[in-house]
């Protein structure tokens, strides 16, 4: 599916650009996007390095395990494939907690660390496990209690009440997360058969 979406966007965009802006514009557009991707990776490198280092200390000190045991009753049922000894759960819990607190730059490295731990614990599937899919889909639906970027932008644009949207945003993102959980449960069996 990722392949289909990718080809569809790339082919449509490239042909569109060639027709509307002329074939000469295509190469420059493609290269500038590729450059943007690498620039983002470099920009991410600092925060990923910093927060992966911090996460390792927190893991060794037992902080992430403590957090996970607090959150496990809430998120445990979403990951039936993970046993009580799984080292992924503390990282999943930490990443979700960081997202909820609006710490996107800490949540991403924690999330990637969780994915790597999930991959390391996977000895049976050739592709992604159910837990990896569930975790990625829930993160993609966004978990947030304080939409800090949006509030700051609204303040910058001269809003009389920048935080007026907090309640509505939390409602909307809860709906998208609930939909994500339901869709994951509904679709995961079909995906498994395809393998």
């Amino acid at each position: 599916m990722m392949g289909i979406v990718w080809v569809a966007m790339l082919a449509t965009g490239t042909i569109w650009a060639a027709v509307v802006r002329g074939p000469a514009s295509v190469a420059a557009m493609a290269i500038s996007s590729a450059k943007e991707a690498v620039q983002l990776c470099l920009a991410l490198a600092g925060s990923i390095g910093l927060w992966s280092g911090m996460a390792r200390i927190a893991q060794q000190a037992g902080l992430t395990a403590a957090l996970a045991s607090g959150i496990r009753p809430l998120i445990g049922p979403l990951f039936p494939g993970l046993g009580p000894k799984s080292k992924s759960m503390p990282l999943i819990a930490s990443s979700m907690a960081a997202n909820l607190l609006g710490l996107g730059m800490a949540a991403t490295p924690l999330g990637l660390a969780a994915m790597q731990q999930l991959a390391a614990e996977n000895h049976t599937h050739a592709g992604p496990t159910d837990a990896m899919c569930t975790f990625a889909i829930i993160t993609a639906s966004s978990l947030t209690l304080v939409p800090t970027t949006i509030i700051s932008l609204r303040a910058e644009m001269g809003s009389a009440d920048p935080a007026a949207v907090v309640g509505a945003t939390v409602f909307a993102t809860s709906c998208s997360t609930a939909a994500a959980v339901i869709l994951d449960l509904a679709l995961r069996k079909r995906g498994r058969k395809d393998q």
Partner: protein
């Protein structure tokens, strides 16, 4: 409100001081621990770069060629049926595929309509209703070298759509 925005700053402060200090008090070699974690993190960067290049080029071509705008304009009847401004359809289409693109478009929208107008409020809620789902799937699976994404792409895109519809609904009910 000011406290809300600054909450993450205090959490960062607490984490940067608290984690190493707590680790040191528990007798952990915090410095080598940090280095080990950070070098693992940097190896991740090399693993996600190919997926990011693939994603950015496809999204960039689709967005910058104007194909995205046209697709969103084709959804005009849907916008009319939902009773929302056509600009919101562009934001909704941009939201799952480009984080910086959606944020930039939100800024433009807030400027054009005013941040406290019905359109400005709805646009803000739409922006917060979901994350850049396609990018996150590519990033997360790319980081472990998995290219087979099973049901995650349709599930995440449909969840984004649910978030958009919930945003429209809650703004209407709350008369925002």
């Amino acid at each position: 409100m000011r406290q809300l925005i600054s909450l993450p700053y205090y959490v960062v402060l607490l984490l940067l001081v608290g984690i190493p200090l707590y680790g040191a008090l528990r007798g952990i070699d915090v410095y080598s621990c940090f280095i080990a974690g950070a070098s693992d993190g940097l190896r991740t960067i090399a693993r996600i770069a190919p997926a990011m290049i693939a994603m950015f080029v496809a999204v960039g071509m689709f967005r910058d060629s104007g194909a995205l705008d046209t697709t969103a304009r084709a959804l005009l009847p849907v916008a009319r049926a939902l009773g929302v401004h056509p600009d919101l359809m562009i934001l909704a289409a941009l939201r799952p595929i480009s984080g910086s693109g959606a944020l930039g478009y939100l800024a433009k929208l807030l400027q054009a309509h005013g941040p406290d107008s019905a359109e400005g409020l709805l646009a803000s809620v739409v922006q917060g209703s979901a994350d850049t789902s396609l990018y996150i799937i590519a990033l997360y699976f790319g980081s472990v070298g998995i290219t087979q994404t099973r049901h995650t792409v349709p599930a995440a895109l449909l969840a984004s759509l649910a978030g958009f519809l919930a945003a429209v609904l809650v703004c209407r009910v709350a008369h925002m």
